[in-house]
Amino acid sequence: MSLVPQLIMNSLIAGAIYSLMALGFNLIYGTTKFFNLAHGAMAVVGGYGVYYFSKMLGWNLTSAIILGIALAGVLGWLLDRFIFLPLRRRKATNTITLVASLGAFTAIQAIVAILFTSQFQTLDKNTGTSKIYEVLGGIITETQVVILVSGLIIMGALVLLLKYTMFGKAVKAIGDDESVAKIIGINTDKIIAKVFLIGSAIAGWAGIMVGFDTGLEPTIGMNLLLKGIIASIIGGIGNIYGAVLGAFLLGFAENFGIWKISSEWKDAIAFGILIIFLIFRPQGILKK
């Protein structure tokens, strides 16, 4: 194992996780135009869902994972139905919706902590025994391969869904102008509900992957969310390719940034990049 290939590998893995967070966040932001901070909690719910079904109830892993994803998706849908939809009807400002989503995030994270304690948990059956591959001198685990591949598959699926289906066209129309979309007969509430379902399910998957890779704590949601948001913004918010590009850029910047300094600086580096982008190129690399 040598340093540079391993740094590249770590960057790719971090990028893949961030891109999963960014894809769902970006999909929701692109449609509703507000920062949905509750998105971070969806990852936590997905991860702990799998923990509950597979470790506490002992169900088989595949069904636990499907249930975990479904749980996150349904919760996202519920939040839209009972919080964000009423706020949209009241023409609430972005800031109000942002604070409401912050409230939802705080409450959900605390409920998870009450149910499962704040202890560190891992989804991996026996930690450290997962298969390890060596690629070009860097080490990557089986879980991390799954993370990378699934990130690309989900990105591809989203691109197909948004470009070639009626649903995708409706999503785009709502993103451009919700009231016009309504006038031409699109059931905007229904489409947005589905967007929340899909976006949250993707976040759930991200949380599950983190649970297998590094482990779960109720507080991981905020960090994942913020990285997803930063990735979306530096890539170009509202743009799927931008989300993925931003995520990998962020992964590389963080991991190479800590080459010579303590890894505790990672978050500061990420936010430093965010602020530089917000000042000099707020529309991101790929602008929409």
Binding site: I96, E264, D267, L274
Partner: protein
């Protein structure tokens, strides 16, 4: 009795934090999520000057306020480029950067080990080391901060701030340099947070970076939104309610860690309900 004094001191500290933040968020309409950073700068400056250089509390407090003000000036200059939700996000980024610095600049701050053995304030032979004497000091500072804030918001300066909040474009046309006003109030808010920080450091006599995370910023934000934006009495009442809430839960027989999480659940839900039904908070005069 000791316990009640302890709660009263915490209340005074949070009330000072809330008053400062309300000037920025409530009166000027800038959704800042970085208040804990200035709280931390004040606490660390006082702690370091007291333990390393053997300073007296009061000059250390002044230096803490000045340093916090200077840092706020620099951060505020960058933030002045942003609006609404981007402002919130970028300010949150600065909180994380300041937290990282407190955590990683170990020569100065001792990093995660924290700074122990901070002495209680004293002037000449008058010592505030007894808890009830400390409470007296905290309440005196709270009263000063309250009347200072009241003076500010009732002055012509305060009226310009409210005008900026309501319609920035219009007040610009009248020839006011809005950026100067925004920066000034942001710096004042930060200096007041440093007062709370200095009190906190000398009350607990130990600080570490974990007190100054974005969670703390969000907590103070919840206090002022609950109490009411642009209402100083509201901030005091909000601080009282949210500081007493976990204690009330403890009286209901919940164990400490669950009571702490329950507090998060309750204030998360309060934020959601307020945004849905009363976005200006209990006594507020301004909706986000």
């Amino acid at each position: 009795m000791e316990y009640l004094i302890h709660l009263a001191i915490l209340f005074a500290i949070y009330a000072i934090l809330s008053l400062g933040l309300n000037l920025v968020v409530g009166y000027t309409g800038l959704l800042s999520v970085t208040h804990a950073a200035f709280y931390g700068v004040g606490a660390y400056t006082t702690a370091i000057l007291l333990t390393r250089s053997g300073w007296n509390f009061f000059p250390a407090l002044i230096i803490g306020m000045i340093l916090s003000g200077i840092i706020a000036l620099l951060i505020g200059l960058v933030l002045s480029k942003f609006k609404e939700d981007y402002y919130a996000l970028a300010s949150l980024g600065f909180n994380i950067i300041v937290y990282s610095i407190l955590l990683n600049w170990q020569k100065l701050t001792r990093g995660p080990l924290g700074i122990p053995g901070i002495s209680r304030p004293s002037i000449g032979s008058l010592s505030f080391s007894e808890n009830w004497m400390f409470l007296l000091l905290a309440l005196i500072l709270l009263v000063i901060v309250y009347y200072l804030s009241r003076f500010l918001v009732r002055s012509s300066f305060g009226r310009v701030l409210k005008a900026i909040r309501e319609d920035e474009g219009a007040i610009k046309i009248f020839g006011y340099n809005v950026n100067v006003y925004k920066l000034t109030i942001f710096v004042i808010g930060a200096m007041l947070a440093a007062v709370a920080g200095s009190l906190f450091a000398t009350y607990i006599t130990f600080i570490d970076p974990s007190t100054f995370t974005i969670d703390e910023s969000i907590f103070v934000l919840a206090i002022i939104i609950l109490g009411g934006l642009a209402n100083l009495k509201g901030s005091i009442i909000g601080a009282l309610i949210l500081v007493l809430l976990p204690e009330a839960l403890r009286f209901l027989g919940l164990p400490n860690d669950i009571a702490a999480q329950m507090r998060q659940v309750i204030y998360g839900v309060i934020l959601i309900l307020l945004m849905l039904f009363r976005p200006q908070g209990m006594m507020g005069e301004y909706k986000l």
